[in-house]
């Protein structure tokens, strides 16, 4: 079991140095990426503890994690700031956009409007926990194939939401997909392709 505190976030360095390079635009398609982003290395989370913290133990992406956190910390902030999982995004921080969607015991929730300390013993899955190693989850594959995103900021939430949707309803109609994905905003409006991706994943085509 990992003991995670604000002073010692696990895997933070490896995770973020990889993704910072990626985010800086390194784009190697079918080729060897020789570019190196002159980007900073990565490390520890916020330097100072808030005055009072509570312990919470939960399973995130299959790993048991324990952290101490301010009881007012949202699950989203705990995931992003304490556990280094920046897949879930903060688009509005009030449950209106869906970019922070994660799975709680397989069910979709908005991690920005719920407190981390409420999840003692719970099992949380973020977008980072969907792939099986290098093998993408079928929904992730379907989003790539159908170009179900443009900027991609909402995509973590869209994909996590779609995975939850298909667990609730494995063979949704188009109308049901739209109804059940309507809590996830996409400002680029890749909506037609999102519908196509979810349909494709539901039919096992991806």
């Amino acid at each position: 079991m990992d003991e995670t505190t604000r002073e010692s976030p696990p895997s933070r360095r490896a995770f973020l140095s990889r993704s910072l390079t990626a985010g800086a635009g390194l784009a190697a398609l079918g080729g060897t990426g020789t570019a190196t982003a002159a980007a900073p290395a990565v490390a520890a989370a916020a330097a100072v503890d808030p005055p009072e913290t509570l312990p919470v133990s939960l399973t995130v992406n299959g790993r048991r994690r324990t952290l101490r956190t301010d009881p007012r910390t949202s699950l989203l902030d705990a995931l992003r700031e304490d556990l280094g999982l920046t897949g879930p995004k903060k688009g509005c921080n009030q449950g209106a956009c869906g970019a922070c969607t994660v799975l709680l015991d397989g069910t979709r929730i908005l991690s920005c409007i719920t407190f981390a300390v409420m999840f003692e013993g719970a099992e949380i899955t973020t977008v980072e926990g969907l792939a099986d190693g290098d093998r993408l989850h079928p929904v992730q594959r379907a989003f790539v194939e159908h170009d179900g995103f443009q900027c991609g900021f909402c995509t973590s939430g869209q994909i996590t939401s779609a995975v939850g949707l298909l667990a609730e309803n494995p063979r949704p109609s188009t109308a049901e997909i739209k109804e059940l994905m309507s809590g996830n905003l996409c400002r680029c409006a890749a909506y037609p392709n999102i519908v196509a991706a979810v349909e494709s994943a539901a039919e096992g085509r991806s």
Binding site: R12, L16, R18, S19, L20, T21, A22, G23, A24, G25, L26, A27, L29, G31, T32, T34, A35, A38, P40, A41, V42, A45, A46, A47, V48, T86, K89, K90, G91, C92, Q94, A96, C97, A99, V127, L130, A131, L136, Q140, V144, E145, F149, C151, G152, F153, T155, S156, I159, A175, K178, M181, G183, N184, L185, R187, C188, A189, A190, P192, N193
Partner: protein
């Protein structure tokens, strides 16, 4: 649709997948708000609560005394230029003795925790003397007694267009139209990380649209030479114009240089509404005169655009509104006056469609009125007046490449109409929240036409730079493409790689991170990057190819691989410019102000509950001429996205401003289209090449935004019989007026 033979499997014309796609679906793509550094501290902005006030004093003491606070800065701490701006450097880095809009940055705090920084900012005591806020754009423009918001008066730009002298006609229609303030509402908030460097400079990782012009505004404010401010693109969570101006860039750099620590700033959603410019709200008066058979004789218009407190890109927005103010129609007599004005409302600037959107809603509404007055169908009236290759714009500019508007309209009209609603509650306006059984639902159909200039206009030196390197990697040819062009979701990294594959016949292409160590690529705006950066990559590849050909000629018998082995990598850097444009004449508006024009036409089918005022867009159909399809999948995404934002402007999106104050800075109160609001789309894409452009392409991202709005409104008018002269349409405009 034609397809193109390419030398590689993922070249131009192929729906190549996004190189950053896997990272985006696994959550690993690092957006600017995801960046993290050891010893990083957090920056927060204190903003003005007043739209207009003098600052008597600022007491930083309470903030400085708080634990964890490392720096508190005001304008006195700005070492260089105190102002920045895209066209006019009139916007203070931090307010200097006066605030001109609600939300104007006044002071900055850096602390070791974001909450501590926020609390410290709240502890700063600013003594404001509230002054009269100018919030009526008409008064700002035309009332000599109105207080001056700008240093040189309230009119930012007045651009007339004058053609001909016949302003009488057998058929005359007039109208007054209003467009509300739209927000880009990208999902990824303004954010970035500034890292102080050992040479006294700063490295900034930021989500932006235009790295070099960011740098060229940041460096003077910091009192640093440009080479000491290095800007790299972080992951961008959407842009749509809102990242063309600076937001937190200078602020984070100031705090980083002051504290000697990396500084991260991330706006929350509410702050984001104050942190970027919006689409200009507009008030427009139009008069169209025509013959009885519907041929335009004249167009008169007054277009008033509220630029808010600072200049931003308002002058260019005014230029577009004026030059495109009559739409893609032939008309021999024109009297247009477009104004951009300063007020104490939120600053307005770039948003997808850039000045052409507002005018399009008005002139298309007028064309519908004219059709009715002449007893013609909306499509027939438009076809009778449509421009084509060889026509002249109202600026006198010749349309010298294909502009098949009449044919596009005919094709659009011929699309089959969708079936009537089958009574499924989810299909009714309002969806499952509907409280009736659809008794009041009426269907309507409407058309809209738009014309948008592609690339920067009016004499701007508009170019992009690409560095292309052909080398061996693991014994195989590999291409590295480096530009400063901002990928904002439009798929530009994909297109750059596709161009390189096509030009060099090499499969393996890497697009390097965008930064300021290569020349400027200009802005990711004006639908211009495929054209200009695509052109730069193509030109640099051609130069690499020429070098290779020279080597091959000198050393016959050697393969490319052997040449690269013997002589090392071949690298070329090239700038690419489109054909020059020219200023508009200040009193007549005449001049070849645009380099390329793009057309899109939309048909909207709506169901309206006329008793509840609810609208459901049942279908959007579009025909767009893109010159050449580079990547069909990405292109269709642009057409979907542009159409959705036009739909949003028609039906729901408005930043509400009362007495200079924002009323709805949140996603619960500022509504954008959801997946349920997005109708199925029928899209036809034409490829009539523009010989002046790389591959004959035409910029594609903005045109669909223009024509959707008037099409949707026309459809709602057809369903309701209401005049509907304002967007967004509200339920009460349908049901209660």
């Amino acid at each position: 649709m034609t397809s193109t033979d390419t030398r590689t499997s993922q070249g131009i014309g192929q729906s190549a997948p996004r190189p950053d796609g896997t990272l985006k679906v696994t959550g690993e793509f690092a957006y600017s708000s995801d960046l993290w550094l050891e010893d990083m501290v957090w920056g927060v902005t204190l903003r003005s609560p007043h739209p207009a006030a003098r600052i008597r004093s600022i007491d930083l003491g309470p903030a400085l005394a708080m634990p964890g606070v490392l720096a508190v800065l005001t304008h006195e701490d700005v070492p260089g230029e105190k102002h920045h701006g895209l066209e006019l450097r009139d916007q203070p880095v931090l307010a200097v003795d006066r605030v001109r809009y609600q939300g104007e940055p006044v002071a900055l705090v850096a602390a070791d925790h974001p909450e501590r920084a926020r609390r410290a900012a709240a502890a700063i005591v600013v003594d404001y003397e509230v002054t009269e806020a100018v919030t009526d754009a008409r008064r700002a423009a035309f009332d000599p007694a109105c207080p001056k918001v700008g240093e040189r008066g309230n009119i930012l730009r007045h651009q007339p267009v004058r053609v001909g002298s016949v302003f009488e006609a057998p058929v005359v229609v007039t109208g007054e139209y209003e467009v509300g303030m739209q927000d880009q509402a990208f999902l990824g908030p303004e954010s970035g990380l500034a890292v102080p460097a050992e040479d006294g400079g700063v490295d900034l990782y930021v989500a932006t649209q235009w790295l070099h012009v960011d740098r060229d505004q940041i460096a003077p404010c910091l009192g640093l030479p440009a080479e000491k401010v290095r800007v790299s693109l972080a992951g961008v969570g959407g842009a749509f114009g809102a990242r063309e101006d600076l937001s937190m860039q200078v602020h984070a750099c100031l705090l980083a240089l002051r504290t000697g620590r990396p500084v991260k700033m991330v706006y929350n959603r509410e702050e984001s509404f104050f942190g970027h410019v919006h689409r200009h709200p507009a008030w427009m008066r139009y008069e169209h005169g025509a013959t009885r058979d519907g041929r335009l004789i004249y167009v008169k218009a007054e277009i008033l655009l509220d630029g808010g407190a600072y200049c931003s890109s308002s002058p260019a927005v005014v230029g577009n509104a004026a030059s495109l103010g009559a739409g893609p129609y032939e008309v021999g007599n024109v009297e247009i006056d477009a104004y951009g004005v300063y007020t104490n409302n939120p600053p307005c600037g770039a948003m997808r469609g850039f000045g052409a959107v507002q005018a399009c809603f008005a002139y298309e509404s007028q064309m519908d009125r004219l059709a009715e007055a002449c007893g013609l169908s909306p499509v027939e009236l438009r076809i009778r007046n449509a421009v084509s290759q060889g026509s002249r714009l109202i600026t006198g500019q010749l349309i010298d490449s294909p502009a098949p508007l009449a044919g596009m309209l005919a094709e659009l009209e011929a699309f089959p109409l969708p079936a009537a609603s089958d009574g499924d509650l989810r299909e009714l306006p309002g969806g499952v929240a509907q409280t009736t059984h659809g008794e009041g639902v009426r269907r309507g159909v409407g058309y809209g036409v738009g014309i948008k200039n592609i690339c920067f206009s009016e004499g701007f030196d508009d170019y992009s730079t690409a560095r292309v390197r052909l080398e061996l990697a693991g014994g195989e040819p590999h291409v590295l493409v480096h530009t400063a062009a901002a990928e904002v979701g439009q798929g530009l990294v994909t297109v750059q790689a596709q161009v390189a594959r096509t030009e060099l016949g090499v499969e393996r292409v890497t697009v390097a991170p965008a930064d300021t160590t290569v020349g400027s690529a200009g802005s990711s705006s004006a639908s211009r990057q495929s054209y200009v950066t695509g052109g730069a990559v193509k030109t640099a590849c051609e130069a690499v190819r020429e070098r290779l050909a020279e080597l091959a000629a000198a050393h016959p018998g050697l393969t490319t691989t052997a040449l690269l082995q013997r002589f090392g990598p071949v690298e070329e850097t090239r700038e690419y410019r489109h054909r020059p444009t020219f200023p508009m004449d200040p009193s007549t508006g005449q001049g070849d102000s645009h380099t390329q024009l793009a057309l899109c036409v939309h048909r909207a089918v709506v169901d309206v509950d006329v008793e509840l005022g609810l609208v459901k867009v049942v279908e959007l159909a579009a025909v767009q001429d893109v010159g050449k399809v580079l990547n069909l999948l990405a292109l269709e995404g642009q057409i979907h996205g542009g159409s959705a934002q036009g739909l949003g402007l028609a039906l729901m999106e408005e930043v509400l401003v009362a007495d200079g104050r924002l009323r709805n800075p949140s996603f619960t109160d500022y509504l954008i289209p959801t997946i349920l609001d997005m109708p199925p789309m029928k899209v036809s894409i034409l490829e009539n090449p523009d010989p002046a452009a790389p591959y004959g392409l035409r910029g594609a991202g903005e045109p669909p935004t223009l024509s959707t709005t008037p099409a949707v409104v026309a459809a709602v008018r057809a369903a309701t019989g209401r005049a509907l002269s304002r967007v967004p349409i509200r339920p009460e405009h349908i049901a209660l007026t």
